[in-house]
């Protein structure tokens, strides 16, 4: 008979954390932790771990990682909680490394000099996060714990970013040079992505209902929306320009509404087209796959069709629909960045401007918030779907 092995594995040495820790240790020692640039464009000089944060800092980083590795071998109850605390604290205090680095190496007298983050630091960050994910996984998913970690790490980073120590960081410099533009890009990005998701949700609901009522439409509708999904974004954006321009030329009244061949119009159209496939598919599946025997049981107990829909079908379908919204939102946030190429604005404009000017930190100023938005949307919708599941989700 199968006997649960989970309790025994709790106390077995974990091989994943040591593997990740050793990799992190090697990379943080081998690669540059940071770079000092005399100005925005000139390539800077890199600094390894010891040079960047001194022997004290290097020792601290090394001992933290080593401690984490050793902890994985310890035969101790509750070791994963200690591990979690250690990793969470390290991640929260990670910006301190950059602070120390800047204060040690930034020349006092040159206002254009700036520090930027090196590959070693990125690797450290990445592997610490992987170790954190692994530890969380071993502890079993606990929402409260995850939320606490996000608040502690995120809050600490925000405080550090606003402090003086990181003011010289080129990423912060790029932001400080254009706070208004950043804010505008943020709202444009949100408006485009969520606008597209909202419109496609309404359309998808209609299409899903049509498919439910007339099964003959299922193949053509699904075929069309997956066809749209197949065409690469750049091509869709490009293909929309000519017809839209022609349309505006033919009906100048459209131009007064702000509709043009480039800009938000083709961007929104393309985003909606892209969002249709995941939306339609999930909505349709969600609404059709309510088990017939459940519906029959409901009818048998005297529910009418209206009650059946609101008390049975919708609650069961909602998590699946929200999963569709999650996929669509993440996709739309990414594609909105591409839409900057046709002048739609958003964080993508920083990415492509930065690429054009070879200003890497401007690229980061666009890319990092885009990723953060996508991750945030993922987290929010995952939690929402989990909280709406009729049965409590078990690990």
């Amino acid at each position: 008979m199968s006997v649960s092995r989970s309790e025994s594995s709790q106390l077995m040495p974990n091989r994943v954390i040591p593997a990740l820790g050793l990799l992190a240790l090697a990379l943080v020692w081998l690669l540059d932790v940071g770079t000092i640039q005399p100005n925005r464009i000139v390539p800077g000089t890199g600094h390894g771990l010891v040079s960047a944060v001194g022997w004290g800092g290097a020792a601290l980083v090394t001992s933290t990682l080593a401690g984490s590795i050793l902890l994985a071998f310890l035969n101790l109850r509750g070791r994963y909680l200690i591990q979690l605390a250690l990793l969470g604290l390290s991640l929260a205090l990670l910006p301190l490394l950059l602070d120390v680095f800047a204060s040690r190496h930034l020349p006092e007298d040159s206002p254009f000099a700036r520090s930027s983050i090196g590959a070693g630091f990125w690797c450290l960050l990445f592997f610490l996060f992987l170790m954190l994910i692994e530890t969380l996984g071993r502890l079993g998913s606990r929402r409260g714990l995850e939320l606490l970690l996000v608040v502690v790490i995120g809050g600490s980073w925000l405080i550090f970013l606003q402090s003086e120590g990181l003011e010289s960081l080129s990423l912060v410099r790029e932001f400080n040079a254009r706070p208004a533009k950043f804010e505008q890009a943020f709202w444009t990005h949100l408006a485009l992505a969520f606008g597209a998701v909202a419109i496609s949700a309404v359309l998808a609901f209609g299409l899903a209902l049509k498919m439910m009522r007339s099964p003959g439409w299922q193949r053509p509708i699904l075929g069309l929306v997956s066809f749209l999904q197949t065409i690469p974004s750049l091509a869709v954006f490009g293909l929309l320009i000519a017809p839209l321009s022609a349309l505006v030329a033919a009906f100048p009244v459209l131009e007064t509404l702000g509709i043009r061949g480039i800009g938000w119009t083709p961007a929104l159209l393309a985003l909606v087209a892209y969002s249709l496939l995941p939306m339609v598919r999930n909505t349709f599946v969600a609404l059709t796959e309510v088990p017939e025997n459940l519906a029959d049981a409901g009818r048998g107990m005297g529910m009418n069709e209206r009650q059946l829909f609101f008390k049975l079908k919708l609650p069961l379908a909602l998590p699946v629909i929200i999963e569709g919204v999650r996929i669509t939102t993440i996709q739309a946030i990414g594609l909105t960045a591409v839409a900057a190429l046709i002048g739609a604005g958003g964080f993508g404009s920083f990415i492509f401007q930065g690429l054009g000017q070879a200003a890497m930190d401007l690229v980061l100023l666009g890319a990092l918030p885009t990723i953060a938005l996508a991750l945030l949307a993922d987290a929010v919708f995952t939690m929402l779907a989990a909280s709406l599941k009729p049965t409590p989700a078990t690990a």
């Binding site: 008979m1 006997v3 649960s4 092995r5 309790e7 025994s8």
Partner: protein
């Protein structure tokens, strides 16, 4: 012959099988019976080394299995499991041919063997050979599972609740089938089940297991007559032990034989020599008869069985 000597299996701190000793003679059907979690499947899976044993020795024909190559060991043991485990991407014929193929038999020998086994298990080769497992009924699929296990003519057959997922009628059919096949092929069989009736029907000896230990290892009759503990007594069912005992014995043992087989009277109804005593009792009760004629396989009347004798000596 399979011998388990002081075999223990632990999963972490839990002991699944606790210091058991068990000898299974060549050609016998040993049924391990017990409730779920008692260690019967673990014991079975240790015999073909799907699970390593923590302590003790397991010998197959006198040889310690840990000294053998695990794959070689398993190639010489048929293995049948509850979910059949047929490869869904292979046809029935190819599934049956699995082990012969691993043993690199020549093509025509494999084909002949597959044909032979399908016939043995009452599967029509013409209609079923090229079907896929999903296209079979549960009973057919398990027949294929048994055929696959017998394919390379192994000496040993390990069966882990093979009929557990089937409906009652199909299960009954397959049990009878198994008895018939066992008579022909005489495999040393270890059979795991939680169903005591299945155990009584199929076993030459039963090992009752509870909490990782063997409580009693004996013939079905002795298990019924002399249960070693209250646990075994409850397992076999205290109250209807009498009927269960009757169902172990064939009519042949209690009938009063005629000096010579007689031609039956036309339209006469009766029992067959192989029918069990329980059936005989049932027939008498239903017909209100004091005695019932018994026929042999050729349809000749070879004797009669009386109600008096049945009641006195049946159980």
């Amino acid at each position: 012959m399979i011998e388990l000597k002081h075999v223990t299996r632990r999963f972490g701190p839990t002991v699944a099988v606790d210091n058991i000793n068990l000898t299974i003679e060549t050609g016998e059907v040993c049924v391990l019976v017990g409730s779920s979690g008692c260690g019967k499947s673990t014991t079975l899976r240790m015999i073909n080394r799907l699970l390593p044993h923590s302590e003790g020795e397991i010998l197959v024909d006198g040889e310690d299995i840990t000294t053998m190559n695990a794959e070689q060991l398993r190639l010489n043991m048929g293995y049948v499991i509850q979910g059949t485990g047929l490869f869904p991407h292979w046809t029935v014929a190819r599934n049956i041919a699995m082990v012969p193929q691993l043993l690199k038999w020549p093509r025509d020998r494999i084909d002949a063997r597959v044909h032979e086994l399908m016939t043995l298990l009452d599967l029509d080769p013409a209609t079923h050979a090229n079907k896929y497992p999903q296209q079979l009924s549960g009973g057919q699929a398990q027949r294929v599972g048994v055929a696959r296990a017998l394919a390379a003519d192994p000496n040993i057959l390990l069966m882990d609740e093979p009929f557990g997922a089937l409906d009652a009628i199909t299960r009954e059919n397959l049990q009878l089938e198994m008895l018939r096949i066992q008579k022909q092929v005489r495999k040393t069989t270890v059979f795991v089940t939680h169903d005591i009736d299945e155990a009584l029907k199929l076993a030459t000896r039963i090992a009752v297991m509870d909490q990782g230990r063997i409580i009693q290892h004996d013939t079905p009759e002795n298990i019924l007559r002399r249960p070693a503990s209250e646990f075994v007594e409850n397992l076999v069912g205290k109250q209807d032990r009498g009927l269960k005992l009757m169902s172990l014995r064939p009519v042949r043992q209690l009938m009063q034989a005629h000096p010579a087989p007689k031609r039956p009277e036309p339209g006469a109804e009766g029992l067959k020599e192989e029918d069990n005593l329980r059936l005989a009792l049932s027939v008498m009760l239903w017909q209100g008869a004091e005695q019932v004629p018994v026929f042999n396989a050729r349809g000749e009347e070879t004797g009669v069985i009386t109600r008096e004798r049945l009641i006195q000596e049946g159980a």
